[in-house]
């Protein structure tokens, strides 16, 4: 095989934001006809590299080549012009404009866009709808279809599957395969290693702003047994994780704490019902939902996109009042006027969009102590143990405080830790988690699992909605499946496999 020039290549790219070094020296090359995974823990520099490739940021030093030609992108349009299509982690759509206006703005050919929507079964989408009226899942697909309508040579997809349902994710993979056949390329940034193993041809691992490993299974196979049909499947998840985490692989810790507090043991702590919903309804979106969570229990919740799970969580956290039914805390019915009342009852929410719950421009410490200001009589008091509690939480969650002066500059994983950490500081009894590991790296995920188990072990009741079905077996005791606003199934987490959960989530009876 001739060593043709890579379609997209960076050499020694470096980028700092103030005193924080995001990329130290990154070499990265994407060939024609491949799907290349770009992996790394939080803060490894993936998003920065993507932003440089997409023309959002200009690198401090280093070189960038497209098809062998040196390039400098001063604005996203420069990258688009040479065939780099990017779907960013945050939607690049204007919320107050209609889809059609968004297309006009970026000079997109409407028929091409609509036909790409068709690939995702969204061909009938109303283009006169305002962007902020559409669910996040749809916006990800819209963003992708818009990038595709420009007919790019390279597709950069930053955490696209995080917000997608399994079936839409499959369509993205099929699309990437198609792109590959066309002799173009795809770059997939994801925390879901199973996806990498399944669909990617090569993987570059970033750690602390450097590329530390390149997995090229085809090449290795070529050398060892003369066949060139190696896939990422030959690599194995463990090797990838090891490369991402470097020396400090901490797989053991979670396994241990997981087994320490196994379901049966937890149940012996208390059989007390901490939190319950009785016939909870909200219009046609949530219908007649009843369940209970015991102290020390992690109850999982699984659903496809748009089955009413968001509305259910806003009812449970006191953000919205149910049209029928009631919420019980410790056996007593509660009529909440708002999240304030829920928090007073010890029921706290970790929302799906972590920036919603954080004060992005304030430092870590202030974000952690916000709930302490809840009670008026504490307004003038300076809590004696505040500092200790904060340091304790930072320590316990191992929050990276390098960019501590503004929470919005922290990585997604660290932000999520702070969203959880503030309730560790303030105290709670029932924790409602809405997809807490969405778009978060392996190591932080493990830390969050271990933390949830530990909290449950200490007597907290936890309701965990997750879009990653594998998490159910890892952390939950029981799991509820929601479909069309109702609870349609309940399974023991230990026996719930991805296939039994998916079957139920589609509203189908399990094939016994």
């Amino acid at each position: 095989m001739t060593a043709s020039r890579p379609l997209l290549e960076t050499v020694n790219i470096a980028k700092s934001y103030g005193s924080v070094v995001a990329l130290e020296a990154a070499d990265f090359a994407v060939r024609r006809g491949e799907i290349h995974a770009l992996l790394g823990a939080n803060g490894a520099g993936k998003s920065t590299l993507v932003k440089i490739l997409a023309g959002v940021h200009l690198a401090d030093s280093g070189e960038l080549f497209v098809d062998g030609t040196p390039m400098q992108f001063h604005a996203p349009v420069d990258a688009m012009a040479v065939g780099i299509g990017t779907v960013f982690q945050d939607p690049a759509l204007i919320p107050d404009l209609t889809l059609k206006q968004n297309l006009q703005l970026s000079e997109i050919d409407e028929p091409a866009f609509v036909s790409w929507l068709g690939w995702f079964d969204l061909g009938q989408l109303d283009l006169d709808a305002l962007v902020h009226e559409l669910p996040l899942e749809t916006l990800r697909v819209v963003d992708l279809a818009r990038a595709l309508a420009r007919d790019p040579q390279v597709l950069l997809l930053d955490e696209i599957t995080a917000a997608l349902t399994a079936d839409q994710a499959e369509r993205v993979f099929a699309l990437l395969a198609h792109w590959k056949e066309l002799g173009r390329a795809g770059v997939l940034i994801t925390h879901r290693l199973a996806e990498v193993l399944r669909i990617c041809d090569r993987a570059t691992i970033l750690r602390d702003g450097r590329n530390v490993a390149l997995f090229e299974p085809g090449k290795e196979a070529d050398a060892s047994n003369g066949s060139s049909t190696g896939t990422m499947q030959d690599v194995g998840e463990h090797e990838l994780v090891e490369a991402m985490l470097g020396a400090e692989v901490r797989e053991e810790r979670f396994e241990e704490s997981g087994s320490e507090t196994s379901a049966s043991e937890v149940r012996s702590i208390a059989d007390e019902i901490a939190f319950a919903a009785r016939g909870l309804s909200s219009g046609e979106v949530v219908r007649d939902i009843s369940f209970e969570v015991r102290r020390g229990e992690i109850l999982g919740l699984v659903a496809l996109e748009g089955q009413g799970q968001e509305r259910l969580f806003s009812l449970l956290s006191g953000d919205r009042r149910p049209t029928a039914g009631e919420i019980q805390v410790g056996g007593a019915q509660r009529g909440w006027g708002g999240p304030y009342d829920a928090v007073s009852d010890g029921v706290v929410l970790i929302p799906g969009d972590r920036l919603l719950s954080l004060l992005p421009n304030l430092p870590v410490r202030q974000n952690l102590v916000v709930p302490l200001f809840n009670r008026i009589r504490e307004w003038l008091r300076i809590p004696q143990d505040e500092r200790k509690r904060v340091l304790n939480a930072i320590d316990r969650l191992s929050i990276d405080t390098r960019a501590a002066s503004q929470v919005r500059r922290l990585s997604g994983g660290n932000q999520q830790k702070i969203a959880i950490g503030r309730w560790l500081v303030a105290g709670f009894r029932t924790l409602l988690c809405f997809d807490p590991t969405r778009g978060i790296d392996v190591q932080t995920k493990r830390e969050i699992y271990a933390l949830l188990r530990e909290l449950a072990g200490n007597g907290a009741a936890i309701l965990l909605y997750t879009s990653e079905l594998a998490e159910i077996q890892l952390v939950c005791d029981r799991v509820l499946v929601m479909h069309d606003g109702r609870i349609v199934d309940e399974q023991e987490a230990a026996r719930a496999t991805e296939s039994t959960l998916l079957t139920a989530a589609h509203g189908l009876e399990a094939a016994v």
Partner: protein
């Protein structure tokens, strides 16, 4: 683009009305006030309509300019200062000049202040200093220069120029055709520009979410400068209208400061959220006229004009609360 709107027909219209219900509401409020005012006074006719429309011109122009800047996610506290500057320059250089010369001065002022304010927009976007701080500062500067150009009230303009804005060469009486034309033409031009052109969409886009706008490949700086340029041009028009209305220039600081505050009030009342990205320029037009109408209405009701400001404040607060309530109820029912 227009044909596309037509073909979609009634659905688009009903959805447009629902989406811009605030704008529709402000125009309804204006109509109700007009009818009410007509019943309050013994004779209601051409004189009153002319008077309300011509007296509204400066505020309406300023409100349109402020609206565009607010929609783009900014705010311009220097519009009043620009009004003074335009007013002072116009009064000084139009005095005793033939109409053609006066028109030339007017056009130069509009173009010049547009450029000047675009420069302010450029400074804001490269410095990262908040709009409110930069324009507070430039507002003082423009007001100071206006005093320097015209140290005390005076100067003048051509009678034809007064007719252009007031419908009468003396500035008194006249018909309402010219003032209403002079109000609606710039309003509709800016409205069309903001809703149908790419630069208009870009202005909405940067006000709605400027990160997303940048990621989508927009030139955020250019859109910001465009919004400030439009604001500058309309502030110049407001200054010209003031000269035409009064026949002289008046560089007093308080005139500019009041005008700035009223422009923000009109924008808020007109349903343009101060966070940017939403609302229609036309809402600010109606709100500007409403604010001007309050005075004659109150005097017709026999209320002390000194209390007008209290009523104005209550009106703004009341409308905002009713608007908030309507939004809340609509979300509930959804």
């Amino acid at each position: 683009m227009i044909s596309a709107v037509r073909s979609a027909g009634a659905v688009v219209w009903s959805r447009g009305l629902a989406r811009h219900s605030w704008t529709v509401g402000v125009w309804l409020l204006l109509s109700v006030l007009l009818v009410w005012y007509a019943t309050l006074i013994p004779v209601f006719g051409q004189f009153q309509v002319t008077s309300i429309s011509k007296n509204s011109l400066p505020l309406v122009y300023l409100a349109i300019g402020q609206a565009i800047i607010v929609i783009a996610g900014g705010i311009d506290l220097s519009l009043g200062g620009l009004l003074l500057l335009s007013n002072a320059l116009a009064a000084r250089f139009m005095e005793d000049q033939p109409f053609a010369m006066v028109l030339l001065v007017a056009l130069l002022l509009i173009a010049g202040l547009a450029l000047l304010n675009a420069l302010v927009g450029y400074v804001i976007s490269i410095s990262g200093v908040p709009d409110i701080v930069v324009t507070l500062a430039t507002g003082y500067i423009w007001s100071g220069i206006a005093l320097w150009v015209l140290p005390s009230p005076g100067g003048g303009t051509a009678p034809e120029f007064r007719w252009l804005f007031t419908g009468a060469e003396s500035g008194i009486g006249g018909t309402y055709v010219m003032p209403i034309l002079m109000m609606l033409v710039p309003a509709l031009v800016v409205f069309f520009l903001s809703r149908q052109t790419r630069i208009g969409l870009a202005i909405y886009a940067i006000g709605s979410d400027d990160t997303a706008a940048r990621l989508a490949g927009l030139d955020v700086r250019r859109a910001k400068m465009a919004s400030y340029a439009i604001g500058g041009a309309l502030a110049a028009l407001a200054g010209l209208a003031t000269v035409a209305l009064t026949g002289t220039g008046d560089p007093r600081f308080s005139v500019g400061a009041n005008a700035t505050l009223n422009s923000v009030a009109a924008v808020v009342l007109g349903g343009i959220a101060l966070v940017g990205g939403t609302g229609l320029v036309l809402g600010a037009v109606a709100a500007g006229v409403i604010l001007i109408m309050l005075n004659p209405i109150l005097s017709a009701m026999g209320i002390d004009p000194n209390n007008a400001q209290i009523i104005q404040g209550l009106l703004i607060a009341g409308v905002m609360m009713v608007g908030g309530l309507v939004t809340l109820l609509r979300e509930r029912s959804a």
